[in-house]
């Protein structure tokens, strides 16, 4: 008799999943969160290609249910039954998911994506599983590693498998998994290996020793990633400083005055970008992605025009009195800041990255290089080359260099110094405007934008000396990298103070900066 009962029960059990299989979506919608979680775990362990659309819809929050608990999937406002041909009785309500479920859905989507044909998707799925694979998926992963054809995907899957094998009952499997983890530079591998060092977790001493070796390997790789990251953010900061300081160095070299309103030219450049973006949104939304390219010339000409106007009306009258010029340009900067505040409001305005500037390249597991920063480094170098060409290959550049070296002699030789001053001032301001476009892509755009860069860009000029582009380039990148290397060691503020102290000491040796023009003029 007992066998008969068992047989009936077993057949019932076999029937159950079949009955359930009639509607995965239906099951999910009807279940409570705890049951939804176990459903998802079951699905992750045994993926079926047909279930992927449902899971993707869940991930995107498009699954809804009407009052009769029938599951629907929303597509652009239309509700379609997830299974069958049912019509909604009333407007279906979107399913609410908690964070735990969202995590499980991501895992489930990844394990289903292992079955798709596109190797790129499979690779992403395998990488997701490295983070979140569950012990129940061990068999699935084993099978996938065996059947996978793409090398990169197989490697990623092996790693995901190794994470699970760390608690395998077989010593040899554990040992192999530990060794494999040592090959990666994944921050997660570090924490996993660190827990293995505890005798309570891992009883076998050989595995613990292997874990120690692997941990050292992982840490070394992570350190490389960190250092590269610091070097990159240093380069990025340096390129921004360069864009901010280049124009300042030109005008300072030429006129011997520090333009305190230079930071505001950055700010105006950023606001020009904002205006261009607004105009694009209103009149040409389909070409919105191109707005930064259009903003470049706009910002250049706006700030150059303002700069030339300032030179004509104020700075021209203060020649030979550099300290007074400093105060007058400070006054101009106050007025410009307040003007922008009155026109655009004191709050930051929103400048959005176009799609081709958002995101980044994942170089190492702990190192992502954002596209916008890469583009800005390239852009800064492009501006330097352009400025170099302008200063060294054009008539205007020749005149600028002549006036920088000896104003009186240049005037005697017929250089129109007044015009040169005005154009050079426009050029310096325009370069700052270009810098403003770049800044708008990586930071906040507000009326005080320029103030935060002005002191640093002065230090670049002081350090680099005037009259030579090379000085500015070296000083900007040097300061940027020094800042970013000191920051994690002793904190941002102490780092800045240390750099200031170093600059003061450096000036003891080279009062004219890194690259000084040689001259014999004395007053």
């Amino acid at each position: 008799m007992p066998t008969a009962v068992t047989r009936i029960l077993l057949s019932l059990l076999l029937l159950l999943p079949l009955a359930a299989h009639a509607g995965d979506a239906q099951d999910f919608v009807a279940a409570n969160p705890a049951k939804q979680a176990s459903l998802l775990e079951r699905w992750s362990a045994a993926p079926e290609a047909a279930r992927l659309p449902l899971l993707e819809a869940l991930q995107q929050g498009r699954v809804a249910a009407d009052s009769a608990k029938t599951a629907f999937i929303e597509t652009a406002g239309n509700y379609q039954a997830a299974e069958g041909e049912a019509q909604p009785l009333d407007t279906p309500k979107k399913l609410r998911l908690n964070n735990r479920l969202r995590g499980l859905i991501a895992t489930a989507v990844a394990s289903h994506q292992l079955l798709v044909d596109d190797p790129v998707l499979r690779l992403a799925a395998a990488q997701q599983l490295q983070k979140s694979a569950k012990p129940a998926q061990l068999q699935l992963l084993n099978a996938q590693v065996a059947s996978e054809t793409d090398d990169a995907v197989r490697d990623a899957l092996t790693l995901a498998l190794a994470n699970l094998q760390l608690v395998d009952s077989d010593l040899a499997v554990r040992l192999a998994a530990v060794r494999l983890l040592g090959e990666t530079g994944d921050p997660l591998a570090r924490t996993r290996l660190e827990t293995l060092l505890d005798p309570a977790v891992e009883s076998d001493p050989t595995v613990r020793t292997a874990a120690e070796t692997s941990l050292a390997q992982v840490k070394r790789k992570l350190l490389i990633g960190e250092l590269l990251g610091q070097a990159f953010s240093g380069l990025s900061l340096g390129s921004i400083l360069l864009l901010a300081a280049l124009g300042l160095a030109i005008t300072f070299g030429l006129l011997g005055v520090i333009n305190m309103a230079h930071g505001e030219m950055l700010m105006l450049g950023a606001y020009s970008t904002y205006m261009v973006q607004v105009l694009f949104q209103r009149f040409a939304p389909e070409a919105l992605a191109l707005y930064p390219l259009v903003a470049l010339p706009v910002a250049f000409f706006v700030t150059a025009a303002i700069g030339m106007a300032l030179e004509r009306t104020v700075i021209r009258h203060l020649y030979g009195r550099p300290l007074e010029t400093l105060l007058a340009t400070w006054g101009i900067s106050l007025i410009l800041i307040q003007l922008v505040r009155v026109i655009f409001g004191a709050q930051n305005v929103e400048v959005a990255n176009p799609y081709w500037l958002s995101g980044g390249i994942q170089v190492l597991p702990n190192l992502v290089l954002p596209y916008n920063r890469i583009v800005i480094i390239g852009f800064a170098l492009f501006v330097v080359v352009l400025t170099w060409l302008l200063l060294n290959k054009t008539r205007l550049g020749l005149n600028v260099r002549a006036v920088t070296q000896n104003r009186n002699m240049a005037a005697c030789c017929g250089v129109p110094t007044g015009r040169v001053d005005m154009l050079a001032f426009g050029l310096g301001s325009g370069i700052a405007g270009l810098g403003g476009v770049a800044l708008s892509q990586i930071g906040n755009v507000g009326p005080d934008l320029g103030q935060s860069y002005i002191i640093d860009s002065f230090l670049v000029v002081v350090l680099g000396g005037v009259g030579q582009l090379a000085g500015s380039v070296m000083a900007a990148f040097g300061l940027g990298i020094a800042n970013k290397i000191l920051e994690p060691q002793i904190g941002a503020v102490l780092g800045k103070i240390l750099i200031l102290a170093l600059i003061i000491l450096f000036i003891q040796k080279r009062p004219q900066g890194l690259f000084a023009l040689k001259g014999r003029v004395i007053d």
Partner: protein, 363 residues
């Protein structure tokens, strides 16, 4: 706001009447300044009573006058435009603030340290409960910083805009440092909620009057010091330094010591002004060190007239009087006004208001 208005009128009158009248006008202003705290002691319903608000405002402006005078000593006489005098002012203020915080906290730790869960005072707070040591700090903190910075700056003959920028960077760095909670100076809230000074209630009329009188005394003393310096050989050398440093060196002078002396003196004066400012205003925080404040001090001096002793006082009074009026009447336009002031003064008033008055006097 009676002070700046009086000052302008009086100065204008003095320019017309010649040196004897100037002395008379100066004495009159001094008499008013001495009378103000005494009138503050009168009962509030008396017609001649000076309110605590006006007394604090004028006291604050007097402190700024001392800063302006100190800045004028280095800029107007020695030709070194410092954009970092706010740092010395704030350091003096913080030194005094440390004493006041200890006084307010009694035997315990100052309140902000308890919030940070600190259990003992950092070493640099040692002895700050002693008023005399606090006074020493008021002089030593700005003085030593100025000495070290000046030593290196003048050794490599940094001057002109380079010097200005380095001083600005210095005060900026100081501001960042003091904004940190870990620095031990109350972070961005700074020091406030003072209760007593030397056991006297800090808000009582008598304490206010004494503090005000002390400010007047310091102002007069620094004015006298400046006057003696300007007339001495030392002052002559400074002026020569400003106008043609290289020629002075060819004449066999080493400008370093001269610059360093006047630079440190100026910093110490600023520190003293800050120390008197804090108990009167009742708060000190790192924003006093912001580059904006220091550069504003430069416009006081420029407006009044560089290289004169009265000019900076006049400028500080005028600008701050205007500021008090503007920020109440048209808060949005104050920055426009200040910006235009910077431009107008540099373009059209190279010798400041004093220069203008002198010209009128000569006509």
């Amino acid at each position: 706001m009676t002070m700046p208005m009086n000052q302008t009128l009086l100065a204008r009158a003095s320019a017309k009447l010649g040196p004897q009248a100037s002395i008379a006008v100066g004495l009159l202003v001094l008499a008013i300044l001495v009378a103000m705290p005494l009138l503050h002691l009168l009962p509030a319903d008396n017609a001649l009573h000076v309110s605590a608000y006006s007394l604090t405002l004028v006291g604050k402006i007097l402190c700024y006058c001392i800063v302006a005078l100190a800045l004028d000593l280095v800029w107007g006489y020695a030709g070194l435009l410092s954009l970092g005098h706010g740092l010395f002012f704030a350091l003096g203020g913080y030194a005094m603030g440390m004493y006041l915080m200890r006084e307010a906290a009694g035997d315990g730790l100052p309140a902000f340290m308890s919030f940070l869960a600190w259990t003992e005072l950092p070493w640099y707070w040692y002895g700050t409960s002693n008023f005399l040591w606090a006074l020493c700090l008021v002089v030593l903190a700005p003085g030593l910083l100025a000495l070290v910075f000046g030593f290196f700056a003048f050794r490599s003959r940094i001057k002109g805009v380079y010097f200005s920028i380095m001083t600005q960077a210095l005060t900026f760095a100081g501001m960042l440092l003091f904004f940190r909670n870990e620095t031990g100076f109350g972070g961005n809230n700074g020091f406030t909620n003072f209760r007593t000074i030397l056991g006297f209630d800090i808000t009582s009329a008598h304490t206010r009057a004494v503090l005000f009188l002390a400010t007047v005394v310091l102002l007069v003393a620094s004015l006298y010091l400046g006057w003696r310096l300007a007339r001495s050989k030392f002052g002559r050398v400074l002026t020569a330094l400003r106008d043609a440093e290289n020629r002075l060196m060819f004449c066999g002078y080493n400008p370093r010591g001269y610059k360093l002396f006047i630079w440190v003196l100026s910093a110490v004066l600023c520190g003293l002004a800050g120390a008197l400012y804090v108990p009167q205003v009742g708060i000190i925080n790192p924003s006093e060190m912001s580059p904006t404040n220091s550069i504003e001090a430069a416009v006081w001096v420029a407006l009044g007239g560089r290289g004169t002793l009265i000019g900076p006082l006049l400028g500080a009074g005028l600008v701050n009087g205007m500021k008090s009026w503007f920020t109440v009447a048209f808060p949005e336009y104050w920055l426009f006004a200040l910006g235009f002031l910077f431009i107008v003064v540099t373009l059209f008033l190279p010798k400041g208001v004093i220069g203008l008055l002198r010209k009128k006097g000569e006509q």
